[in-house]
């Protein structure tokens, strides 16, 4: 009995020491983190053209100006919406086409880099590295280079976004593939199906809901990306925004119209895509239960 209480006492002391040590480690990590944040903020503030504290009260000047003008010239807004609608369609098309092309490329790349499905198993690390590199390239890098070679327009942006998308989706797709059952593939192999038949008939039906869900998420991201690339000269609504901004004070009504269009588009696409993604991940089980 005495032995036991002694054991508990030792255990307790041990536990308390462990907790103390853990708390101390947590405290040290927290202190380092806070120091990093504060010094980082100070460096960033120092290297910025305008300071944080001096700029803070001017933060709302520009939005106020733009929105003020928009309210003032509210009757011109519908005309501006009509005028900029084609470029909005172009931005959406850039995102759509690049998501589609990127997803198709990602599908092939991911199948080639998943164990058990790869066409050439020895090449798996090579395809993985290719995807890593494709994923690491920011869209703007490729877009700027291609704009120099091809001139402005939607094609450089489409290629740039598709390239990055292929890498980013490829990684997600290959994670999905790893959870897919290999039995259909083996079954197809036993009846003499070649690689593409095995993949299209054996793997794709299993993984397509997840693929679609990821592709939709990517489409949301790519709409933003294509708007940004427009700003550096790749056509679409971003390009119009840059022009509208350059008119300067007193003529921000066009910029305001573009802001509103872009905002509405992003919100709508987000909502629609999250609705469908929800259905893709949860809706299927409901249907099964109903059937």
């Amino acid at each position: 009995m005495a032995d036991l209480t002694g054991g508990v006492g030792a255990l307790r002391a041990d536990y308390m020491a462990l907790t103390r040590r853990k708390r101390m480690m947590d405290g040290i990590i927290l202190a380092i983190f806070v120091a990093l944040m504060v010094s980082g903020f100070m460096i960033a503030d120092d290297r910025n053209a305008g300071g944080f504290w001096s700029g803070l009260h001017r933060l709302f000047d520009f939005p106020k100006e733009v929105l003020g003008e928009a309210v003032e010239k509210v009757d011109t807004l519908p005309a501006h919406f009509v005028k900029f609608f084609p470029s909005l369609v172009e931005t959406i098309n850039i995102a759509g086409a690049s998501t589609l092309i990127g997803a198709l490329a990602a599908m092939v790349l991911s199948l080639l880099s998943t164990r058990g499905m790869a066409r050439w198993p020895r090449m798996i690390p090579v395809f993985r590295r290719i995807m890593d590199i494709m994923r690491a390239v920011p869209e703007i890098v490729i877009a700027l280079v291609l704009i120099f070679v091809m001139g402005g327009g939607p094609v450089p942006a489409m290629i740039a976004i598709a390239f990055h998308t292929a890498g980013a989706l490829g990684k997600l797709f290959s994670e999905v593939n790893e959870n897919a059952s290999l039995k259909p593939v083996e079954g197809l192999q036993s009846v003499g199906a070649n690689w593409s038949q095995r993949m299209i008939l054996g793997v794709i039906p299993q993984v397509s809901p997840n693929y679609l869900s990821y592709a939709l998420l990517r489409f949301e991201i790519n709409i933003r990306a294509s708007a940004i690339l427009g700003f550096v000269g790749a056509g679409g609504i971003g390009y119009e925004l840059k022009n509208a901004m350059s008119w300067g004070k007193g003529q921000y009504d066009e910029a305001a119209a573009i802001f509103l269009l872009l905002f509405a588009t992003i919100i709508v696409v987000d909502q629609v895509s999250s609705h469908f993604r929800d259905r893709l991940t949860h809706g299927k089980t409901d249907r099964k239960v109903a059937a």
Binding site: L36, A44, G51, E90, V141, F263
Partner: protein, 440 residues
């Protein structure tokens, strides 16, 4: 038996309908994709791309990104000969000095290799001996223009000659003669002066020798010459990379700190007031919906270009994303643990601290770290728009339209930076989340 048959009929019809739909989807979907891509093909005017494609730009870009040229120039008015790498002032050889393939003197002999020799003679006379073709000579003057003499026969297409200008492009180099200038380019593979510029005593030394000198006590000087290289500006580039990572770090972590308390207000199981939840959610939607592009423009007006603007733009956009994701994670938190903590008499703060935070930490951490990597890329893009970090250097190098070797260098650095951040965030994620599982 017959009863079974009757039962089977509707099932069979159902299965047939299902098959029909499957067939429609599996043929309809590819057809739809193809139709959309065809529409894009014409909407984006891809057939017209061939005309807009600037082959010269592409060739210059590719050639310049892995090679450099050295200019040997004679001013035909003063007779002075100068040698400059890439024709830049920063890469000019001091007067009277030249690389070993150029022999200065009364006659300047330029050996382009493989038998190609250019001679700058007296009185502005020049000759270029092209093996297998013959000798091209010119006597540029104010009165008679270039006054070129070519070997007998038709003028080949690699020579372009008119009264006031002659251009000769061979595999060994390029010669341009005008009335005022005679200029020869010789191409070399590699990035010129990457380590040391011409004014540094370490230029042209081998790696071994530089190392030997570094060990001999000159390490600080060597490092200084490398670090302050005027051509490649290594210190500026390092700062720019640091700024970009700083933007991503400050933005991501700041957003996480702001979003966590707000997420509690937006989560169903922690915030009983429906109105508060709705307001918070619309708040998050608004921050996400006004894209990083617009935030960058708005913030740049207030704070000017620089890393702080980029960090704040990332912070604001991601507050929306994190708020949404965190509140979803909190809604998925297991209620039982919270009740367990409550049963020991814990107050609300303690319930959150010990009942909720340990549950959601791994999820939140992995999301934050995933965003840290993705924001490194965003920070590059934002830097290109608002002016800060490596994105700014990249756009600056692009605008000159000739420093493609620097563009290639920055692209390689950006890719390495993003991959390093990817690796780092993955490592940290494994470390922290595994550590949590072991410790708690």
């Amino acid at each position: 038996m017959s009863a079974l048959d009757v039962d089977m009929i509707p099932v069979k019809m159902q299965a047939d309908a299902l098959f029909r739909r499957k067939r429609l989807v599996s043929f309809g979907l590819p057809a739809l994709v193809l139709a959309y891509l065809t529409y894009i093909f014409f909407a984006f005017d891809i057939p017209g791309l061939a005309q807009r494609f600037e082959v010269d730009n592409a060739r210059a870009l590719v050639a310049d990104s892995y090679s450099y040229k050295t200019h040997v120039t004679r001013d035909n008015r003063s007779g002075e000969v100068s040698v400059a790498i890439e024709g830049e002032r920063k890469g000019t050889y001091e007067a009277g000095t030249a690389p070993d393939w150029v022999a200065l003197g009364n006659e300047t002999l330029i050996d382009l290799g493989e038998g190609h020799v250019v001679t700058f003679g007296a009185e502005n006379f020049m000759s270029y001996i092209v093996p297998g073709y013959g000798e091209i000579t010119a006597q540029p003057s104010r009165a008679k223009g270039v006054d070129a003499t070519l070997p007998e026969g038709d003028v080949p297409e690699w020579i372009n000659v008119s009264r006031n200008r002659m251009t000769v492009t061979t595999e060994a180099g390029r010669l341009t003669v005008t009335r005022n200038r005679t200029e020869v380019f010789r191409y070399f593979a590699g990035w010129e002066l990457f380590f040391f510029t011409l004014d540094s005593p370490y230029h042209g030394l081998g790696f071994g020798e530089v190392m030997a000198r570094a060990l001999g006590g000159e390490a600080a000087d060597i490092w200084l010459d490398f670090w302050t290289n005027k051509m490649w500006r290594h210190s500026d580039v390092a700062w720019a990379l640091f700024e970009t990572i700083l933007m991503a770090f400050l933005g991501t972590m700041g957003a996480a700190i702001v979003a966590l308390p707000l997420a509690f207000l937006a989560a169903k199981n922690f915030s009983p007031l429906m109105a508060v939840r709705q307001v918070m959610r619309r708040f998050f939607d608004f921050f996400r919906g006004v894209d990083a592009l617009i935030w960058t423009i708005v913030l740049a007006r207030a704070f000017g270009p620089g890393p702080l603007t980029g960090a704040l733009a990332i912070l604001i956009t991601d507050t929306g994303s994190f708020g949404k994701m965190f509140s979803e994670a909190l809604e998925n938190a297991d209620q039982k643990q919270i009740e367990g903590i409550q049963s020991t008499g814990a107050n609300p703060v303690q319930r959150y601290r010990f009942g909720v935070i340990p549950q959601v930490t791994p999820v939140l951490l992995s999301q934050i770290l995933y965003y840290l990597e993705s924001n490194t890329r965003s920070a590059t893009i934002i830097g290109a728009i608002t002016g800060g970090g490596i994105g700014l250097l990249l756009t600056q190098a692009m605008i000159t339209q000739k420093d493609w070797e620097e563009v290639a260098y920055y692209i390689v650095l950006i890719i390495l930076m993003v991959m390093a951040m990817d690796w780092f965030s993955g490592w940290l994620r494994r470390k922290l989340i595994q550590g949590d599982e072991g410790g708690r």
